[in-house]
Symmetry: D2
Subunit: 440 residues, 4 copies
Amino acid sequence: MDFDTIPTTIPMLGTPGIPTPIQQWQKDHQRHFVSDDDQVVIDVHEKALARIFQAGEMPSVFELAGPREQIYFDPSKLKCALVTCGGLCPGLNGIIRSVVLELFYGYGVRNIYGIRYGLQGFIPRYGHGVVELTPAAVGDIIRKGGSFLGSSRGPQDVGEIVDCLERMNIRALFMVGGDGTLMAATRIADTILERGLKISVVGIPKTIDNDIYMVSRSFGFDTAVDVATQSIRAAHNEAKGYPNGIGLIKLMGRYSGFIAATAALAQQDVNFVLIPEVDFDMDGPDGFMETLERRMADKGHAVIVVAEGAGQRFFRDAEKRRDASGNIRLNDIGLFLKEAIVNHFKARKTDISIKYIDPSYMIRSLPANSNDHVFCSFLGRSAVHAAMAGKTKLLIGHWNNHFVHVPMAASAGKRKQVSPDGRLWQSVLGSTGQGMLRNI
Amino acid sequence: MDFDTIPTTIPMLGTPGIPTPIQQWQKDHQRHFVSDDDQVVIDVHEKALARIFQAGEMPSVFELAGPREQIYFDPSKLKCALVTCGGLCPGLNGIIRSVVLELFYGYGVRNIYGIRYGLQGFIPRYGHGVVELTPAAVGDIIRKGGSFLGSSRGPQDVGEIVDCLERMNIRALFMVGGDGTLMAATRIADTILERGLKISVVGIPKTIDNDIYMVSRSFGFDTAVDVATQSIRAAHNEAKGYPNGIGLIKLMGRYSGFIAATAALAQQDVNFVLIPEVDFDMDGPDGFMETLERRMADKGHAVIVVAEGAGQRFFRDAEKRRDASGNIRLNDIGLFLKEAIVNHFKARKTDISIKYIDPSYMIRSLPANSNDHVFCSFLGRSAVHAAMAGKTKLLIGHWNNHFVHVPMAASAGKRKQVSPDGRLWQSVLGSTGQGMLRNI
Amino acid sequence: MDFDTIPTTIPMLGTPGIPTPIQQWQKDHQRHFVSDDDQVVIDVHEKALARIFQAGEMPSVFELAGPREQIYFDPSKLKCALVTCGGLCPGLNGIIRSVVLELFYGYGVRNIYGIRYGLQGFIPRYGHGVVELTPAAVGDIIRKGGSFLGSSRGPQDVGEIVDCLERMNIRALFMVGGDGTLMAATRIADTILERGLKISVVGIPKTIDNDIYMVSRSFGFDTAVDVATQSIRAAHNEAKGYPNGIGLIKLMGRYSGFIAATAALAQQDVNFVLIPEVDFDMDGPDGFMETLERRMADKGHAVIVVAEGAGQRFFRDAEKRRDASGNIRLNDIGLFLKEAIVNHFKARKTDISIKYIDPSYMIRSLPANSNDHVFCSFLGRSAVHAAMAGKTKLLIGHWNNHFVHVPMAASAGKRKQVSPDGRLWQSVLGSTGQGMLRNI
Amino acid sequence: MDFDTIPTTIPMLGTPGIPTPIQQWQKDHQRHFVSDDDQVVIDVHEKALARIFQAGEMPSVFELAGPREQIYFDPSKLKCALVTCGGLCPGLNGIIRSVVLELFYGYGVRNIYGIRYGLQGFIPRYGHGVVELTPAAVGDIIRKGGSFLGSSRGPQDVGEIVDCLERMNIRALFMVGGDGTLMAATRIADTILERGLKISVVGIPKTIDNDIYMVSRSFGFDTAVDVATQSIRAAHNEAKGYPNGIGLIKLMGRYSGFIAATAALAQQDVNFVLIPEVDFDMDGPDGFMETLERRMADKGHAVIVVAEGAGQRFFRDAEKRRDASGNIRLNDIGLFLKEAIVNHFKARKTDISIKYIDPSYMIRSLPANSNDHVFCSFLGRSAVHAAMAGKTKLLIGHWNNHFVHVPMAASAGKRKQVSPDGRLWQSVLGSTGQGMLRNI
């Protein structure tokens, strides 16, 4: 990736001038407040850094997230809103809870509103109402999957959303959502600016597929891999349980195969992984079908994991449609493969026993695991610190093992993908031994 | 059920005349060997029993399972075989392990063979070979789902199977399988008899659907409900997570809705349960669609669990086919309902968000839970005791909280189903409040 | 057990004369209401039954639990209370929830009070207050362990408790608790009778140890075994992980070793199980220490499970004290064994690596598993049916696979224990091969 | 941390001159081999980097781990050994498996030996023998906790260990272990050098406490937190379940409180966390006991997590002893606190209900979770790449989200600890609100 062109400056609503009410915990330790010039380089490769510095330039950096000594908003007067948008993801309730706890206990903010059902919740004609958020209201929600506030898909009118913020007198808005939501957040922040309002908009990137650009890990992904692993284990048992057994698992991953690739490494019983980022041929001597046939002749069973976005070129363009959020509807590569495999071996007069597993929403709707709980706690608290400091148009990211401020402009409209040359995919190739699956 | 006509006598290969080598564990306690006239009544209702006894008749009974003081086979010379047939089920490896441990340590049997891939393993032309089973070989297999021996579907020639038993000099055969397997077991036992052989055939009933007749609980069912519950939880989160959210889960249950009904009770967030045993109407004022519509108008979300065998009358007979085992292929009620619901609300111009979850094989291929492990341990050991005593043509059942000997003739060809009048279904109706779903 | 002397009649507050509001669900099926003479025999052994009937006597029976066609209380006027007492147990929240749901939706009862912190909640000077219980209040509580209402140990004045019931105008009291609670329940019911009040007292037996007399299974036990199994797995890994490794696990079981014995069967890696019901010697050629020494010499590792109540004779009586509930304080057999083993092998100059695991409260404080959820749902609903019918001084039991009414007098003051001659312990002996551990 | 003085050069046994047999997977993609000058800066803060570069110096760096294009050893002749030392840790079997798979399939190495029971396995007089490691032998071991090879504590003679390596003709040694093991590894590598041998020694740092210096995450930690969270959940239920309930959990963490602090964040129901890194007073107005008393008066319950190494100053030095590995025996802070709390409230005549949970070895002996499985897979494969390239005296570390080569000299003898000023502890303070607990 070329990091030089990444915008890294975080817009400010104004100059923070209020001492933070966050307690100085340790009398014998200096409380570690974070300063805006605490920054980490984005590209940590020594050669790249040397080149930049020796050219007298400065490397691209991200601000560190964390509490600031001076804040912008007066907590006693601040009204905040929180909204979760798009598909469910393990950890949404952890985010909600930690934002509320940090606002309430850390800063003393007392007016925190939960917007119901995603962006719809801002639009009066849906009539969804708001939820008052207090520590008591969110105390137990992390035991549960889903979103305590509800969600919805699809865009809403940005003007109407900002009208609602004005009407409610909201000064800090926390938006949890994916690609589309973050683009909406950008437009909301721009409209706020145009209207001359002082409302902070902080995004917390959500994607079960782990495909947010410039964000090395997104919450819920670890839990998703846990559940995906279960389905692979089941498929492996089915494959080994019958003569010529094949287990075929379809996993989420519209444009990025992170879940498929990572779950395959967690289970290590997988023989083929197919992802959107790496093309493959169905037919021909090195194609998928003949490679599978050789594997079956050799070992008598096979486990195949396919990400939902893989192999889309096998469907005619005409069949593509868009869903409510404007996402392109994917044709079902899982069922396509299942049928292709059945037909292939039928033509060979070879009896096989194929079992198809599609865990679908189970991947994303179960409660977060411990690891994701901790991660969500840091994300939510970091988002609060950023908003209180008067920052806006930013995401809370995780980069080089630090929580950082990522300008929305740095991430919007791009997507992180599994690199065919990188560690993850190379490990998948090493673990599966599947080879290229291309006739080149 | 009319229990009077149930055959309850267990055939014997001969008179047990060898003292058991099973140790008398307690010097100060009499080892509790079980005698063949230790029998429990099948129908435990006092009124029924009084009627029978007062008429001078004897009630139907099952022999208690357990170790006999005299056994029929000489353990030092005995060769045994074990086979698992049909669909996978949590606990298969627990059965395998406990049969091997009891034969080896309890009786000192040293020749125990595992037949690979179900009934195919008896037929030379498949070339599957056998596995020698020792405590070391089966030591760790209970951590895993599936079958350590493999399985297969479909019938095989009974004569060839008995030929194989003769050739291998097997004198005790343990068959783990469902309906079809137990019918095959009956025919194998009959052919053995016709040929004048002395081979014990003991069945251990396996059915993920818990639908074996005269068997109150079958192994793996408890684990299946555990996993099914997860999928309901996910669907519930999806349903609550969106405006007008509907979660639809298809669960296993070809002819019996035990998994669907029990998992619905375990989760208690379910609003509709549809099972094969209870007919329902799709249309009309009291039919499913309008009841669902009223529920949505009232509560804004719904969770629906459907057993795969429910509502089959909505498909044309012509579409029914048979799979390799002769089972009728079921049309997909899950996808049918999903489409019907989408179309219904589209016609009403009501936006809904429906999420469909089909955990399919995940229900049956994961490792057994603790409860099923314990249960499998008792089943396997009971089967060994029965075979060693020279009994044949029987199943190991669980009835009135006792492990018992069920003659194959008592169970074969019938099926246990959820009774619409019984405790389970009445509780489902109480818990869901779904009502009749019939226009009568 | 001699069942002939068991009291089996359930006291009634009066004659039920109000038609039940419970809906008749199936138009084409007769709703299966249960009649008071639907009874199951307690002893299901055919020989025992024949003897009784042939002597012209009637066998001991339990009434079946379930909804009655006529009820005693007018639901619109009924005030109910629910209390959980003693130690925590997985499933308490499931009981609370199902009692509330059945009262509310099944019968239309609107005044349901939760008494806080066990029997203390009835006593004004503790100032605990009550909780109003509605379906919304209990909707999500089954995800959590512990008791939604809280609990406490120790007796309270029965007169004050009945005063409280009178003051609150409670007419049906559901008490969930163990041995001590059920004895208190008996005394409460007696005092109610003496005062000429019409208050139903229904007990739901709770014991993590599964040791309630005349109750074949108690809720939470299955979950407890699940967690106990985890600790055995860890101990097994520790034992196998080191030269001369020993894993020692102490499990709950004050007077009954059901958890220890059952968890040992679930895991099957256990070499010694020590329970209160079966005495053992520490020293001497057949005692525990020398048997363990032989095992270590032979296999190089050992896993030992000890129930907390085992081996109490090794402590001097003088050291026994009573806790707040009047239970005798047990000396710590786990630490005693650990020290004895360390000293024994030190004296033999044999290096060992012993790891001690005491999961303690983790066994009883985690949420119930699916199986226990279903079980609790039946228990809670059965308790409601019994109370609505005007029955009192009874427990909801599970016997011969039926939910039944057990008169408090039948169970109070006795305890179920692992029978040294029975199936469970004999299986443990078969699985561990531990032998007698006695020098006789 | 001052990173400038950290040694970062990895010793080489010689110049790699053999083309790697690792397949070039992608015909259309360049296989991403890693070069020794692919390095990442250790300190990623822009200000620090600018200062260094502007001074004309080079920042401290770590080599990236990964496959090299040229290797040092001829795989066809190479003999490798693998040993696991010290305490068990989730993921040991994942490491073993991935080392074996990468050696076997990636490089074609056929002679891989597992040393049994840690360093003891090198010493003939223990007679432990070795295990031949093949893909089949390690195929299923990741389902299990513990170490497939066994382990042991305590040092062994370094000369004897190197004698053994010479005798077995081992050229690459993989050592998985903690602090002590890595110091032994250093001395082994030095002795190898002194003897003029060409044996690569690669360490994989293991510590359930996550306290290896210069290693941001160690395997098994994530799983340990998962299990620790369970015990906190149980303690929380106990604390809320009784009037004045206190749940006290002791967790592993001899010198570093990472498990305690992280599990507290995962569960967020914890009110006090005590760790070795942060001193606290027991008595006095701001001390632990009076702060707890105020909390109890205010909220009526409390959950306390204590790391085993916390508060050691409350024990007399004389009581400290060393265990077999030379570790100082810690006095039991858990039992100390329990007694102190009981006595404190007894003196105040306040009834409390305190429940003590010590999950002890359960934390470290259970199987790894998915996340740790993936992590172990990368660690094991990285270790193999390093050894094949002829590198020695290094650890495989994880730093700034990259797998890197850490010279043993950089890490040995130091320890990572929770920084009282850092993100983790500040979040704990924010989440618990416990304050300083010091009278200053």
